[in-house]
Structure formats: C-alpha cells, structure tokens
C-alpha cells in the first residue's frame, strides 16, 4: 500500500503544473465570467462593479438581436455540420482506397484545414467580391447567373457564404477523422462480406456505417461545438452585420464595443450553457447507440 500511495503522490506532483495552469487560465476566468454576468461591470474598471442580480439576463432575454444571434448560430451549426459530415465521409471513402497520388490528395485536403480562418475568410471574401470576384465572373461567364451576386452583402446570401466557407475549411478535419475511423475498422469483416458476395452498396450501409458510427458521433460532437462558438469567420466575412451575427460575436460586441462587461458576460454564459447542453445531448445519444448495439 505504501508504494501505491507514493505513486499517486508522484502522479499528482506531475499534474500540478498542468492543473495550476488550467485553474488560472480556464477555471478562474470562467468563474469570474459567471460572477461578472451578475454585475454591471464596465470595461474601464471591471473590478469595481455592483451586484445587480439577474438583470443582465432579463435584458438579454428580451433583446431581439440576441435571439437573432441564437437563431443564426443554431442555423449555422445545423447547416454546416451535416454538410461537412456528408462531404467528409465522401472524401474519407476516396482516401481510404489505394490509388496513385493518394498522398498528394491527402496533403491537398489538409491545406484548407491549415490555413488560418482569418486568411480563408479573406481569400473567400476576395473570390466572392461582388464586383471583382472571380466566382461571380466565372458564374456569369458560364451562364449560371445573369448578374453578379452580392455574396457577402445580402443577408440570406451572406449566410450561405459563411456556411460555404466553413464547409470548405473544416470538411478536411471531418474527412481525416472519418478516414482514421475507416482504417481502424477490422478488415476481415469486409473481406468476409466480399467473399460472401454481398454487394458494395450493402456492405457500405450494413457494415461500414454501423461500425463507423462511434467515430462519426465523436466527429459530430467536435464539429458542432466548434460551429456553436464560431467567431472569426463570421467576424471577417460580414463584420457589423446583425443579420449574420453569432452568439460569440454578440457577446464580444457588448463586451468590447459597448464596454458592457456584465451584459457581455451574461451572453457568454448563455452560450456556455448551450454548448454544455449540446454536449450532454450527444453523449446521451452515443450511450443509447452503444446500448442498442449491445
């Protein structure tokens, strides 16, 4: 027993720096954000604030802009994540095959993931420029559209643009996760099915998909949480436009631009709970799947 307790002492010793850092940069700021959301703190002097209870939240819940931001964020997640999952799965299936140039394709697929979000937002902003953008030019030349489209200016179209760029940027991540999942599947299962003469389509839906489900759920969790906190892409592609504003942008706008720390914190706290709720939902779904399979 002596050995055991000394081992666990070593473990805690090894973890001390990590836990200390996490406390300082995560737990404490989070706690403070929760506390600040109940005050009327201003950016100029955060520490001297008055306790105002749930007033910030009451204001937040009657603000139409806030509900617009909530809707935008949820819609954004609801559109972009499934698109990414389907496209990611397709790319993963392609990359799972062995063919000449697979390494090159895999590297190419990684490029959008590595490009900073800001940069990709700028690149697409330029390509989708309403007057000089190459995409409008190409589409007009191909005859797909009659006149150039205001991709980043019109409210509905800019939402489409944001989803599109996000899909472009994050599908690779999805594809690589799913590819790893595919490669981890037991190969003999597929060989057995092929030998038994099962059609490829059937193999995909009856064997590949059920086996891939745990990986798919994990990938969906990661991506959904990412989508819910989206900030930089929207910030660059349509800054200041409340039609596409997300919860993160709303919170930061009130926090920095209006210097209303208390109110901004309240919005951030709400976002935090939305994310927590979605996580719990997914985890429960995953558990039910596991039980169902067993």
């Amino acid at each position: 027993m002596q050995q055991h307790s000394s081992l666990s002492k070593t473990a805690w010793l090894f973890m001390t720096p990590c836990l200390l850092v996490l406390f300082v940069v995560a737990a404490w700021p989070l706690l403070r954000t929760f506390m600040l959301s109940l005050t009327n703190a201003r950016l100029e002097d955060i520490t001297h604030a008055q306790w105002i209870g749930s007033a910030n939240f009451r204001d937040l819940f009657v603000d139409a802009e806030w509900w617009g931001a909530v809707t935008n964020t949820l819609l954004f997640a609801a559109f972009s994540v499934p698109c990414e999952a389907i496209l990611g799965l397709m790319i993963a299936l392609v990359l799972h095959k062995t063919f000449k140039g697979r390494g090159l394709l895999r590297a190419a697929v990684l490029v959008p993931w590595a490009i900073p979000t800001i940069v990709s937002a700028r690149m697409w902003g330029w390509m989708l420029h309403d007057v000089y953008g190459i995409i409008n030019e190409l589409l007009v030349r191909l005859g797909a559209i009659a006149a150039p489209l205001p991709w980043t200016a019109s409210p509905t179209l800019s939402f489409v643009t944001i989803v599109l760029v996000d899909v472009w940027k994050t599908t690779p991540f999805m594809a690589l996760l799913l590819l790893a999942g595919l490669q981890a599947l037991p190969q003999d299962c597929f060989e057995a099915a092929l030998v038994d003469g099962v059609s490829r389509k059937r193999i995909f839906f009856r064997i590949t998909m059920p086996l891939l489900r745990p990986t798919l759920i994990i990938a969906l969790i990661f991506r959904t949480l990412d989508a819910l906190r989206v900030f930089d892409l929207v910030y660059i592609l349509s800054s200041g436009d409340s039609n596409t504003e997300t919860m993160s942008i709303y919170a930061r706008r009130h926090f920095v631009d209006y210097a209303n720390v208390g109110y901004g914190s309240a919005a951030a706290v709400c976002l935090f709970f939305v994310v927590a709720l979605v996580t719990v939902f997914y985890i429960n779904m995953g558990r039910r799947n596991i039980l169902g399979d067993a």
Binding site: M1, Q2, Q3, H4
Partner: protein, 380 residues
C-alpha cells in the same frame, strides 16, 4: 544461493481473486517452473515476486527477509519479459547498461560487465545495434543479458520463448539450459508449455485458478500426479482416462476393478493410507484409470501376454515417421491415444487390440485425487 518463500500470499484485483493463498518455497540455485493454463495466476505470481504487484495479504521472503515493502530494484531480482521489453531507442549496450547506470556504477565497471554478459550470450558483436535491427532470438538474448549484468539474486522469466517460432524456440530452450548451468542461480520460469517446463526445470509448480495443485521434480509429476488436473497437464500427448468401478478389495493392497468395456484388472492400492476416505473405496464406487499413451502397446497376436487387453478400432493416425499417435475408439464410446513406434502402418478402421499393464495405471478416486503414485513401482 537465494531462496524465495511465499507465505499465504493472496492477490485480488478489484475483489476479483487471482491468487488464493499460495505457500511456496523456491529453492536456491535451481530452476523452478510455474506452469498452468492461461489465467491460472502464474504470471501474477511472478510479478508479485519481483515487486511489480503487491500481495493483497501474505508475505514474500527473499533470503529470509520480508520484501513486501521493498521496491523491485531493492529485491535484487531481474526479470525477462515475454515481449522482451527492450528500450527501442537505446542500443543493445545501453539497454544492458541502463540498470547499472541508474545504480551509479562506474563507466569502466559498466563496460566490463556488459561485455562479459554479451560474450556469455554471444551478442558482443551487436552492441551498437538498436533492438529494431535484431532478430527475435537476438532480442531474446539481449533481454536476458539485461538481466544478467545486474548479477541478480534470482532471475524471473515470463514465458520467454512464446514469442519465438518453433525452430528458434527449441534452440533457445537449449541455450537457456546451458545458461542455467553456467549461471547457477535461482531461476523462476513461467510457461504454459509443459514440455519447456519438463526440460528446463528442476522443480515444477503446477497452478490452477490461483492455487498450487502440485509441486515436484518433473519426474515426480510425471510418475505420480496428485490428481486428474496434473495428470492431464503433464505429458504429451496427454494421459488417457477410462472409467471404472470398484469390484472388490482383494486384500489391503490389491483392488479389483472393472473397466466400462468389461475388462477387469487388479491394481495395487495401499488401503491403509486411504482409509480416511472410506466412502470412496466401497464396492461399486467409481474410479478413473489413467494410462499414458506411451504405456499402451499393441497386443501381439503371437504370444499371449499376462494383463488386460482393450479391443477397439483405429479412428485416426498421426504419423510422425519415427512414431505414430494412434487414436483408438473403444466399443463403449471411450477413446484412447496410443504412442506406437516401429512399423506405423495403421489403416483407419482397422481393429486393434491394446495391451496395458496394471502397474502402469494411475488410479483416481471419484473426486479426481490420485490413490497411489507410480514412484514405488519400478519402471521398466
């Protein structure tokens, strides 16, 4: 000369008992093999001895002093792992020198000891290589070398040969036997292969479900297995078992029994020694007769032999060239294996008559306990 003593040792993982009260004395300067089916706790026992696990209750003594609270290194025991566990990023030299460096040996001392061990194991030309560049047998030697350099009080081997292919395994088995003679220290050897245990060990400890079934020299276990489990575990091919019942006691030394097939035979059983379990010795009680494949012979048609004959039909022949294992089905639904040498031309379906001598028979009561050993009876 290091003796290891285990006293009432138990070990459980999360209320799941693995070792159930083991008392064991491992003699110095000898090789003790722990054998048993997988999951019997033999590897756990080894890990308890070297200190990788702590016993839940009981004490472990090395040279008379309790080592329960000592960390592995302070016990002065070296271990060779099944997977060799060579440090992949170090050269062979560094692998062997690692323990010495930690112990703070001088550089010249380390070099001398590593060189010496490497020479003993014939890996001195590989010292600059990394484990990846070695063959399976070479890795095995380096793993042993890593143990040797420390001059440990005892060596523990955890299934050291099971990762090698069949040919290499035989060669390494021979090498280990040579090494054992050369090192002349205490060795504990875990294996599930009874053949390895029989050839390498001075003492064999047979384990089942976390307890020791029997301990003894290879020949003792071969000749007088204590129970059906040991009898079926030692010897290859395994012992044949036939059902029988007690007909009558001829006198206090001899018992008349009848096999299921109707043959009767008289076996020598010391009644006095077994008196305490009288109820199992009554007339009509069931028995199991064990007979090794090598103790059955084909009955000669020309000359009549005194003893019991079993009539059956050849159902399968495994011909190995110099000998054959013939599977014979008896009319009553039982089967026996026979090891036959010489002319091994047995057609499947052929009738065969087997001859068995009553002094070769192991007799087990209905609880599976042996009623006598074969030790007292001279082997021919």
């Amino acid at each position: 000369m290091t003796t290891i003593v285990l006293k009432d040792v138990t070990k459980s993982f999360k209320d799941h008992p693995i070792i159930n009260g083991v008392n064991l004395t491992i003699e110095g300067n000898a090789c003790t093999a722990l054998v048993g089916p997988s999951g019997c706790g033999k590897s756990t026992l080894l890990r308890l001895i070297c200190g990788l696990e702590e016993p839940t209750t009981g004490e472990i003594y090395v040279d008379g002093s309790c080592v329960n609270r000592l960390p592995p290194v302070a016990r002065g025991i070296a271990m060779v792992f099944q997977s060799y566990a060579l440090y992949p990023h170090m050269t062979v030299f560094d692998n062997m020198a690692f323990a010495l460096k930690i112990a703070g040996c001088s550089k010249t001392d380390i070099a001398r000891r590593v060189q010496h061990a490497a020479k003993t194991l014939k890996v001195d030309h590989l010292l600059d290589r990394t484990p990846k560049q070695l063959s399976g047998g070479q890795r095995q030697r380096v793993a042993i070398g890593r143990a040797i350099v420390r001059h440990p009080k005892a060596f523990l081997f955890d299934e050291p040969l099971s990762n090698l292919d069949a040919a290499l395994r035989l060669q390494m088995r021979y090498e280990l036997a040579r090494l054992k003679a050369e090192l002349n220290t205490t060795m504990v050897y875990v294996t599930h292969d009874q053949g390895e245990a029989m050839t390498l060990a001075d003492t064999i400890v047979i384990m089942r479900e976390g307890a020791i079934e029997q301990q003894g020299t290879p020949l003792e276990l071969y000749r007088s297995p204590k129970n059906l489990f040991v009898a079926s575990f030692i010897g290859s091919p395994t012992m044949n078992f036939l059902h029988a019942i007690i007909v009558a006691w001829q006198d206090d030394q001899h018992l008349n029994i009848r096999l299921r097939s109707g043959e009767t035979l008289v076996v020598q059983v010391p009644y006095e020694a077994l008196k305490w379990k009288e109820s199992l010795l009554e007339e009509g009680s069931e028995l199991t007769v064990g007979i090794r494949p090598e103790n059955l012979t084909e009955a000669s048609s020309r000359r009549k032999q005194a003893g019991t004959h079993l009539k059956g039909r050849v159902s399968l022949v495994e011909n190995l060239g110099h000998e054959a294992y013939v599977y014979v089905s008896l009319p009553v639904g039982e089967h026996v294996k026979v090891r036959l040498t010489g002319n091994c031309n047995y057609a499947i379906g052929r009738d065969i008559s087997l001859f068995l001598r009553s002094e070769d028979c192991h007799i087990f009561d209905s609880n599976g306990e042996a009623m006598r050993g074969l030790k007292e009876i001279p082997l021919c």
